[in-house]
Symmetry: C2
Subunit: 268 residues, 2 copies
């Protein structure tokens, strides 16, 4: 039980991220894979209520792929109420509908609530039941709300770690995903300017004219637009523009690009 | 290969949900757990490129917990390009940043794009790499975009099934979760009416007055408001209101509720 004290003292310093409470977990392996899923999503505090195969567990440590060694030691409890005593809000995860009048949230909605509670310095806990049967109705009665992860109703059985992952990942996403849902990394190069793209386009059109690419003059404007459209849609980098200048140079027999975007022949 | 034809004919009838492509998967168990995660989220079409331990795989079937038996048989390919030939858009999942100029989406943003493509009858595929190394840069070059699942940067290693689950679940959520993020099921009972709640509140206040609960008359309005507030916030059912009437009756020595919400003693 000395580990418990270390956990508590460390937890004070690492904020009030939700605590994961596994009730009656059976296999050590499943505790380990659940811990791995927690740490994948930035959750570090784990409580175990009546772990069937005892604790500590070598199998859990192995299955956690290093996660348990980086987390504070799990706190062990003989009963659920003491495991919840210091929490301000408890969320119970269930796969099956229950005969209980209690708000049912998606994991995403629960994650938003938990983030709000954290901002008010409230400590939330998330309960997960045993591998086969899940939480009992008595367990769930201790919770303010139910988290029901939406899944294919024809095939909804998840293992423990998968359940933990889906719920924990919504919590992680609630803080981290929104600001940057889509981005285009360009490595060492920077995005090309419109001017650089224009220069390439003008050069390309000039070369295409010189090589009689546009056989039907009526179609020229449409074809030019389509070529430009492809390049603009691709959001090229400055490096890629230079690469394409090189391609044009190579295909046209080695002449470099003109110094200005004007058509060749003008003023020199 | 007869299974391939059956797959294709069935796939035509089951819509254009994204196809999951596992490139160079190693252990049969991981293919099975990936299939389980797919079916959890309503995805049924699986393609395997160069499965190391061959196909079919008993270990995969066992690990899939029934999923592979309910899905069309996976299609097997010797190389990646033919596995992608009929797709309109390919998304590559990666854990590590790559030296490629390609849009990077969260799984959620990719799910929204894929749903849009489905609405236009386009077929998307999602690539997952081998257990340890993930996809090669050559594999990724075949994709229009990268899906990067946001995770704890200090501990981001996911197993194959966990990766499939997170990405597939965003696709499932994109169609199923939004309309109903929070609800309060009330089982056989219906939510109480405001009138039923009011009747209980009036009765309770009367009993509390009769039992000299409100010692400081100045505080009575505040205390009454707080009691009401707790009951209204709880959104009680009609059954729960009746239960509380029973509680008041029991605590006050067995007198039933008055017939009207008026104070007892009036008119009888």
């Amino acid at each position: 039980m000395s580990g418990t004290d270390r956990t508590l003292s460390r937890s004070r310093t690492c904020g009030n991220a939700p605590i994961v409470v596994l009730v009656d977990p059976q296999l050590g392996e499943n505790i380990g894979t659940a811990a791995r899923a927690m740490l994948n999503c930035g959750l570090e505090r784990l409580r175990l209520v009546r772990p069937r195969d005892g604790w500590p567990s070598e199998k859990a440590v192995t299955a956690s792929a290093g996660a348990l060694e980086r987390m504070p030691p799990p706190e062990i409890f003989d009963d659920l109420p003491p495991a919840l005593a210091d929490l301000h809000a408890v969320y119970a995860t269930t796969a099956r509908p229950r005969e209980l009048v209690k708000p049912v949230l998606t994991a995403r909605a629960a994650a938003a609530q938990i983030r709000d509670r954290q901002a008010r310095s409230e400590q939330a806990g998330i309960l997960f039941g045993a591998e086969r049967m899940g939480l009992t109705n008595d367990d769930i009665a201790c919770a303010q709300a139910i988290i029901s992860v939406p899944l294919n109703p024809g095939f909804s059985s998840l293992n423990l770690a998968q359940s933990v992952l889906l719920v924990a990942h919504e919590w992680w996403n609630a803080a981290h995903a929104a600001p940057d849902e889509s981005r285009l990394p360009t490595g060492d190069s920077r995005p090309a300017t419109q001017g650089e793209l224009e220069e390439l386009m003008v050069r390309l059109e000039t070369e295409l004219d010189g090589h009689h690419f546009f056989r039907n003059p009526d179609m020229r404007p449409t074809m030019v637009r389509n070529i430009r459209s492809l390049f603009t849609r691709a959001l090229p980098t400055e490096q890629e523009i230079r690469t394409f200048h090189g391609i044009v140079t190579a295909l046209t027999g080695g002449k470099g690009p003109p110094r200005t975007p004007r058509t060749p022949g003008q003023r020199d």
